[in-house]
Structure formats: structure tokens, C-alpha cells
């Protein structure tokens, strides 16, 4: 039983079916591990034992009755604290929502529950998902389980750390500019950003609505595919979710990649890329070639403008979305004699420094006289970046790049310089702006043992192809071992 915290989804299923373990016992193993180790990593902010135990009892009752088990039966999951959970505190790692308890579940959460998952709790992240290191949490940073003096990446740092440290089998994260893929890269686990519109965002606390996506972390690509198949699909409660059928991702993860065209854009391998990261990603591409893929060199000319466009668009949308935190309807209120002072004091005290910085930047970019120069221009550049992807996908099936320019950096290393922190998103924001799906898969380590991630982008709604290539690569590594 002690190895339960390292089981994959199929291993859990088999253990339940052969009565090697009950859902209650599996859940208890994870809770024990979290109790023992969470203080080292600070991955969880809130635990949800009541919900988790009742979910486990439901699965055990199904087993006792001999019923068919749903796809995530008995699988302990973690949920990023920007995703609403009924009856379980949801803070967005912010003081302004310190005591907020949502009265409803996000659609993705409801789907996990229906699929038999067991909720462990809510994971730490950068405040309102704004950051790339998890240092912007009002409840302290998360530490990287691979190297405790380093950041786990962000903003979904707690979700990545929970899975990497065997404190969850699956974790939900959110990705606006790289917030799933980059922590996946830093913590050495697969991390999937689905296509914009593939997964309902009903119940996700909005940061930048034209960019936000929910996606899974897992210990292997196959488990990520199972998780995606559960949370994907159209939802009438989210008008931006796509009315498209969800393919069978498990069928595609087993397929050969022979003959697939792998696009390798030179623009992602230039100045600023750490040499060890470059070597490992290039070795990853060579490994894919050995599996029968064809390498096609690409030029994606607008890549270098992505950070500038992203930080205007994302902050503009954030400044609008975060207007709702005003002390009137929920969350923190700092009482004042007049309404205006109540707004200003509540927001001034409730938000942390990075959130205020982004609200300021976004408000400036949208303000009278600056809209055309910043927001409108950024939206036009976004069209060109999206066109780079559309053009590339005329010639290739997937695009392979580094996930991040460096491995995990040290805690505190970039926190005083916001622009340096923003530039760490350079390879992830492009796909975010284009709305395409992307995964980060581990592709080796630095000499000092820090994980390196390789990013695979696919066409819109073609997660099946992305998962197929990622899984083939992962399995190829396993065979090589």
C-alpha cells in the first residue's frame, strides 16, 4: 500500500478491481503523505477531507455492488485554487478572497467528481494566476520538489509540485501565458494546455478571458490523456467552449508517429536560450526523428513580439476582470465612510504587488488616448502571431520547441525585476495567443539534476496529435532506459 502514492491511473483501477486496495485506503495514503510533507513544499493551501472521503466511499460502494467504474474511479486529484469548488475555500492565493467559499463547482470539477476522482484539496499558485514562479502567492511560495532552493514555476506551481512530489495523481492547473507548461517543465512532469475552448471555464476565476485555459498535470502522458478526456467538451454554461466532439485520446496515445512532420522553428533556439536546455531539446527532436518523424525547419517571424503583445492583452483583460473585487458582494471589505474610499482601500490592501502592477498596466493600456497605441496594436500583432501558427501547420503536424529558456531558477532570483520574470514566458505565450494546444514533456536534466521540458504544439483542437507525439517520445525514453 505504501507505494499507492506512485500509482498511475490504470494501476489504481487495477488495485480497486482486484480488491488490493479500497478507494478509502488509497485516499488515506495520499492524505498521510500530504500531512507529512506539505509543510516542506507548501503545495496545498486547503485540504478537502470531507469531500474526498465521501467520494471514496461512493467508489467503494460501487465496487461492493459490482458496478462498472467510471474513468477516474479512486484517483486522488488536486485542484488549483483559482477553480471553484463548492463548500471548499477558494482563495486564488489572494488576501482579497481569503475566506471565500464558492457556492458551486466549476464544470471541470463537477466532471472530475462524476468520473470518480477523489478531491485532496486546493493548490497554491501565483495570486490570481499572475506569475511564473509561484512567489506571488499571498500564502508563501511553493518550493520545487526536485530542488527545494528553486521555484516550481508558475502560476500553477502548487499543482505541479503536488504531482511531482507524489501528493496527487492528477492536478488541474490553468494556463494563460504558460502557467501549466512552464511549471511542468520546471518540476519534470507532463503538463497539458488544451486548445482555447476545449475545456469549459465555467467556475474558473477569470484572469484574461481570451487566454485562460484549464488543463491537467500528470506523472505520464497517458494519464494526462485520460484526464483531458474527462474534463473536455462543450458546456452550455460557457459560451466560449467549443461545440465539437471530444475524440478518444486514449486511442491516439498508442499510435505510431512514423511519417509525422515535426516543425522546428529557428526563432525558439536563439539568444537567451540556456545551452543545456537547447542540447536536451535538440536531442529530443532527434529521438522523434528516430521514431520516424520528419524534421522540417520553420521560421515564425513574429515570435519575438509575443511577450510585448501578451503583456498588453493579458493585463488589459485582467484590469477589467478584477474590477469585480470591490468589497461589495464577496471577499474582503475594508470598511470606510464612503463608497469610493471603501473600493480603494479594499483593493489596495486586498491585492498583492504583482496583481496591482498588472491592473495598473492594463488600465493604462486601455485608458483614453493610449488604446490604439497599445491594446489595438497588440491585438493586431496577435493576429500575425496566430497566422505564423496557421502557416506553419500547412507544412507540419506539430511544432517542437523548448518550454522555457532556462531550468527552474532560484527562489528570489527574479522577483525584484518584473520584466525579467515576464521574459521567462517567451516560448509559451506564442501558443497562448494563437489559442493552440501545447504540452510540456520532460526531456532530460541539467548536469545538476534540474528537469528540462520540451514543448509540443498542435493545430487547434488537435490535442490527440499532441498527446500522440508526447507519448511516443515518453515511451521511446522508457525503452532506451
Amino acid at each position: 500500500m505504501s507505494a499507492a502514492t506512485r500509482w498511475t491511473i490504470p494501476a489504481i483501477r487495477q488495485a480497486l478491481q482486484t480488491k488490493k486496495a479500497s478507494a478509502r485506503e488509497i485516499y488515506a495514503e495520499f492524505v498521510k503523505r500530504i500531512d507529512r510533507h506539505n509543510s516542506e513544499w507548501n503545495a496545498y493551501l486547503t485540504l478537502s477531507p470531507e469531500r474526498g472521503v465521501s467520494q471514496a466511499d461512493r467508489i467503494d460502494a460501487m465496487i461492493a455492488r459490482g458496478e462498472e467504474l467510471p474513468p477516474l474511479a479512486g484517483v486522488p486529484v488536486a485542484i488549483k485554487d483559482v477553480i471553484s469548488t463548492e463548500g471548499v475555500r477558494t482563495t486564488c492565493s489572494s488576501k482579497i478572497l481569503e475566506h471565500y467559499v464558492p457556492p458551486y463547482d466549476a464544470t471541470a470539477v463537477e466532471k472530475l467528481e462524476r468520473a470518480g476522482a477523489l478531491f485532496l484539496g486546493k493548490t497554491n499558485c501565483d495570486e490570481f494566476a499572475m506569475g511564473g514562479s509561484n512567489e506571488n502567492s499571498a500564502y508563501g511560495p511553493v518550493k520545487n520538489p526536485v530542488a527545494p532552493d528553486r521555484v516550481p514555476g508558475g502560476s500553477s506551481g502548487g499543482s505541479a509540485a503536488a504531482v511531482a512530489a507524489d501528493m496527487a495523481v492528477i492536478a488541474l492547473g490553468t494556463d494563460t501565458g504558460g502557467s501549466i507548461r512552464q511549471p511542468g517543465s520546471f518540476c519534470g512532469i507532463p503538463a497539458l494546455m488544451p486548445t482555447y475552448g476545449r475545456v469549459s471555464r465555467y467556475g474558473l476565476v477569470a484572469f484574461a478571458s481570451s487566454l485562460d485555459k484549464i488543463g491537467p498535470f500528470a506523472t505520464n502522458v497517458s494519464d494526462a490523456a485520460i484526464a483531458l478526456s474527462v474534463i473536455a467538451g462543450h458546456d452550455r454554461n460557457d459560451s466560449t467552449s467549443a461545440a465539437l466532439p471530444v475524440p478518444n485520446y486514449m486511442a491516439s496515445v498508442g499510435q505510431s508517429v512514423e511519417g509525422l512532420r515535426i516543425g522546428v522553428p529557428e526563432d525558439y533556439f536563439g539568444e537567451g536560450l540556456d545551452n543545456e536546455v537547447k542540447q536536451k531539446v535538440q536531442a529530443g527532436i532527434t529521438a522523434l526523428e528516430k521514431l520516424g518523424c520528419r524534421r522540417i525547419p520553420l521560421h515564425m517571424p513574429h515570435t519575438e513580439f509575443a511577450i510585448a503583445a501578451y503583456y498588453i492583452i493579458a493585463t488589459a483583460e485582467a484590469s477589467s476582470n478584477l474590477a469585480r473585487y470591490d468589497g461589495v458582494r464577496y471577499g474582503l471589505r475594508v470598511s470606510q465612510p464612503t463608497l469610493g474610499d471603501m473600493y480603494r482601500k479594499t483593493r489596495g490592501q486586498g491585492f498583492g504587488p504583482e496583481v496591482k502592477r498588472r491592473i495598473m498596466l492594463g488600465t493604462y493600456a486601455l485608458s483614453s488616448g493610449y488604446y490604439d497605441a497599445y491594446y489595438l496594436r497588440a491585438q493586431k500583432v496577435r493576429s500575425l502571431i496566430a497566422r505564423d501558427f496557421t502557416d506553419a501547420f500547412q507544412k507540419v503536424d506539430v511544432i517542437v520547441t523548448p518550454t522555457a529558456p532556462t531550468p527552474a531558477f532560484k527562489l528570489g532570483e527574479k522577483s525584484a525585476d518584473p520584466l525579467q520574470m515576464y521574459l521567462a514566458d517567451i516560448y509559451t505565450v506564442t501558443g497562448s495567443l494563437a489559442g493552440v494546444p501545447g504540452i510540456s514533456v520532460p526531456c532530460g536534466e541539467t548536469r545538476t539534476g534540474l528537469p528540462i521540458g520540451m514543448q509540443i504544439f498542435g493545430r487547434h483542437f488537435d490535442e490527440a496529435r499532441v498527446l500522440q507525439v508526447a507519448r511516443a517520445y515518453e515511451r521511446g525514453l522508457g525503452d532506451a532506459d
Binding site: P103, Y196, V328, Y330, S335, F351, M360, L419, F461
Partner: protein, 104 residues
Amino acid sequence: MKISRDDVLRVAELAHLDLTPAEVDTYQAQLDQILAYVDKLKEVDVANVEPMSQVLFPVSSDGGDGHPELREDVLQPCTIADAVLAQAPDSAKPFFRVPRVIER
């Protein structure tokens, strides 16, 4: 300097953010640095380029249309008022209660 202290104060007022004098200084310097970087966007020729105001594309692997259908305009019963008001810092059913508005 692209950003003056007055700019910072004006934006903070628009965003309803109470900033300390130290925060005003910090944000002035940081916004200035970030906007100087963002000026990169001026190098791009955007003549005849439409802004990307829609993210979902009618391109997909199975030939389907990624655009969401329009929802029928049908009234749905909504019985969550009590749960919503229970979250409020101050309420008097069916209202949220706030401080005086007039002097604003």
C-alpha cells in the same frame, strides 16, 4: 520617462487602487520599464491587419466548426440569491449594503 508620477496617480484612480507613496514610486519605474519594452510592437507593420478579437477558429482536425452555437434565449429559474447574499460582507435581503455613495 514615458510615465510621470501624475500618470501613475491617474491610473490608480481609474483602477480604484489606494497606493502608498512607495508603491507609486515603484510602479512608476516598473511601468516605465515595461512600456519601454512594449514599444517593440511599433516595429511591426500592422497595416491591413485585423485585430484578433475572436479566438475560436473554424479550423479543426475533424473539419468541424469550433464556433459555439448561440444559446436559445430561455428563462432559467435561479434560486441562488440566499447563497450569494451569504457571501456578502454586508447585506439586507434582497440588497447588498454599502457605505454612502453621494459624496463620491
